[in-house]
Amino acid sequence: MKRIFDIALGILAAIGGFVDIGDIVFNVAAGAIFGYQLLWVVVIGVGAIITYSEMCGRVAVVSGRAVMDVVRERLGFGAGLVALIAGQLVNLMTLAAEIGGIALALQLLSGLPYRVLLVLGVLALGVVIWVLRFEWIERVFGYVGLTMLVFAVAAIKLRPEWNEVASGFVPGVPSSNLAVYAFFAVGLIGAATVPYEVYFYSSGAIEERWTPKDLGTNKANAIIGYTLGGFLSFALMIMAGALFFPLGISPEALGTVALGAEVPLGQIGLLLALVGVLFAVSGAAIDTVFSGAYNMAQFFGWEWGKYRKPVDAPRFTLGWIVMLVLGFVIVVTGVDPIQVTEFSVIFSVVALPLTYIPILLVANDRTYMGANVNGKLANVLGFLYFLIILAIALAAIPLMLLTNGGQG
């Protein structure tokens, strides 16, 4: 019974914690520009994150080693350092975007000045990270983030043409705007597979002291949690396809996303949407803060873990504090968080192969994994998704330049 309860809690946390500001921005923009035509791409992104999260969780459980530890061991110091720097830059950009998203959501809720809310938001994050235990951080933000499900209700209330929605799950090529379509396809896969998710997932397995008995929990969390998290992505895109696409509205602000819940559901929809966005991006901000500290500690062999007292893991503690301060410094300069989000997602795509290939290699290594080495299905999916990741990594920057960042 306790195990079922643990799985349920983990799944709920994964649903609420899956969607971050990158998913929100790219799914809503894709729906507004292409209607439902890009829904099939979300399926690929969700499939990739399920495959690699399950793999890195299994590696962490069996070998006791999280992703950056594995990256350094497999790629060596030089290439590993490149992966670390790329991963940290993407983490930092993502964190800045999430912090900006927190302040924007708070501003839309309260009407208070943005910069004041930036300071309050970062202080609140710092206190939460310092005070709460790891599993409670994960669960509180995951559960309250579930209010994002209001977008699913909004999508249904907007009465989309369901046959058109269904046809969006069939891969297709548009008759025009092909480069912009490809740019959004890359962005959607990138948003679903941002590297911090696997850094955090694998380190979380160690934080929660999973043992081989928890391999079932790992699989259930990855498959069910991310599938249902992907459901939120579908909801955002369908909502935007039903409301913004017919009106020619091109979303460029977080308020537009909230409007998508307000129009069909009124004030309650607006408030649930803003609270959901606030907790989803706050959860993602915490994930990226920790990912930055985990990466440094695992790469350089420092003591790490939220379960340790700060005095027992001082460099790890200093690491997350520095991440938080740097993220704040970037966003307080006045950069637009939505633009930072677009950059962070596209650059994270470029860094993806360096994060994902070591996971695939170690999960295939019988000397590490013993009986829990990758099976046929995990290998087929792993290599297939790796090829896709490689292709989008090569295409991301050229497409960004070719399409003027999706503007066409």
Binding site: S110, G111, I249, S250, A258, L259, E342, N404, Q407
Partner: protein, 124 residues
């Protein structure tokens, strides 16, 4: 998406020459903000939103349209497109004015109804 404004630092706002494609883009930005403003005004008029949200989001929309308004007002286009540019510039200014009114009175349902009518007309 406005990403290219940062990447290339060109083509958004300013007072240089406007290509037909840029003219079209700026007009689409104005149309998008007008349509979105109409949705917001409709919710204010029916008391289906909150004052902070209406005030902040209408302000954001104003800031989105201003660079397009400037580009349309001051940009140069080939002669045959100038009438289209002038019409788009007038429309952009009207959208900014309507959104600023909503921004100044986010809780006033009568103002919202008037703004809604204006923006619906401008976005059609």
């Amino acid at each position: 998406m406005p990403l290219v404004c940062v990447v290339l630092a060109a083509g958004c706002g300013g007072s240089g020459a406007l290509t037909p494609k840029e003219l079209q883009k700026e007009a689409e930005t104005v149309q998008s903000a007008a349509a979105e403003g109409a949705l917001l005004a409709s919710d204010v008029a029916r008391d289906r939103t909150t004052e902070p949200f209406a005030r902040i989001h209408s302000g954001v929309l104003v800031e989105q349209v201003k660079p397009a308004t400037q580009a349309l007002t001051q940009g140069h286009v080939p002669g045959e497109l100038d009438a289209r540019r002038k019409q788009a510039a007038r429309k952009a200014k009207a959208v900014v004015d309507a959104l600023e009114e909503l921004h100044a009175s986010p809780g006033d349902r009568a103002v919202a109804r008037r703004v809604l009518r204006e923006l619906e007309e401008l976005s059609s």
